[in-house]
Symmetry: C2
Subunit: 202 residues, 2 copies
């Protein structure tokens, strides 16, 4: 399969998943979003599940690229960029629908090893990036020495998961969690002698 | 319907939901867990959805009773009891399966107004109880005056949601989040002059 075809099928899977949700998504829905027939899809991917595994893998790779180079000069500002990327408001319906579909897929974790593996890879990626930013922050004297970068990264990943879940389930504002994470970073993580305004806090 | 029958049907719905998950649950599965026939179930509840709405309502009421009187002398200890109640480890499979089913239902929030209403009622209940504990803690001089009880309660509810989501999706330890919440309460929320050991921190 050419890279072009692969990219097209991933785009189609993404769009169809947003439109129909995980539970009622059919192979035909994905074909409808692409220039290919359902038969062609079946030639490359055995089932809708296979397309979804490939999509999660593809999204994890894209996310890895995005968080490789985060905006901001200091690790603190880069951490803020990462939080903003994860909690981007759902301005368009498609993004909200995608978050909903991902939550459906998360609920499949205990029953589907491939989903679980893909979800775990994404979770680890996010965690490791945050841990490294916290370690870099400690090296630069910006983050307190007495916090554990590993545990703190776990906590932040948990908060990001919670924000997404509550946003889907009860419409809780992502912006509200973002503000609380700012407070958390500023009060709990910043080293005492750091000038708050210098690292972007008002 | 007698209270006994209502309770029996809620138990049966709970057990069937844990066993089969939300997506593949059928009215017959619920009947199989009770002494009633499927026809009797249909006499009282129009559909599987109606039974699930009733179950969420029932669980919210039970949770309200449980968190009315929390173990512990001080608001801090009561907050810890509330966190423990929310993050009880999944020792038996049934509890893990129930958390998974709830996550499936959360992902239905955007599509099903009744689910959304039930989920919102539960979310508000948890939030308000935490907010009141924080306010009581401030009145007792145990919690810092400069934290906003409302925003802080939102943050803690978000953390609890995140812990449950990650537990289901990737098997992340609930105990780990509990420990991080302890640290958060101890370092971020406790008033400076409070003796940590007196409110149960080591």
């Amino acid at each position: 399969m050419s890279t072009e075809t692969a990219d097209e099928l991933m785009d189609a899977t993404y769009t169809a998943l947003c439109k129909h949700g995980y539970a009622s998504l059919r192979m035909q829905d994905i074909a409808d979003e692409s220039s290919k027939s359902k038969a062609t899809l079946h030639y490359h991917y055995e089932s809708k599940q296979d397309l979804l595994y490939a999509l999660l893998d593809y999204l994890t790779d894209s996310f890895a690229d995005r968080i490789e180079t985060l905006e901001g000069e200091t690790p603190i500002e880069q951490l803020r960029s990462l939080v903003e990327t994860s909690l981007e408001p759902s301005e368009d319906d498609a993004r909200k629908q995608f978050r909903t579909a991902v939550l459906e897929i998360k609920a499949q974790g205990p029953y589907d090893d491939r989903f679980r593996d893909e979800l775990t890879a994404f979770d680890r990626l996010l965690h490791d990036r945050i841990r490294i930013l916290l370690e870099d922050g400690q090296d630069a004297g910006l983050i307190r020495d007495d916090i554990d970068p590993n545990e703190t990264a776990e906590f932040i990943v948990t908060v990001l998961n919670g924000a997404q879940t509550r946003h889907v389930a009860v419409g809780h504002s992502l912006e509200c969690t973002r503000a609380m994470l700012e407070t958390y970073v500023c009060h709990q993580l910043l080293a005492e002698d750091v000038d708050r305004t210098e690292v972007g806090f008002e």
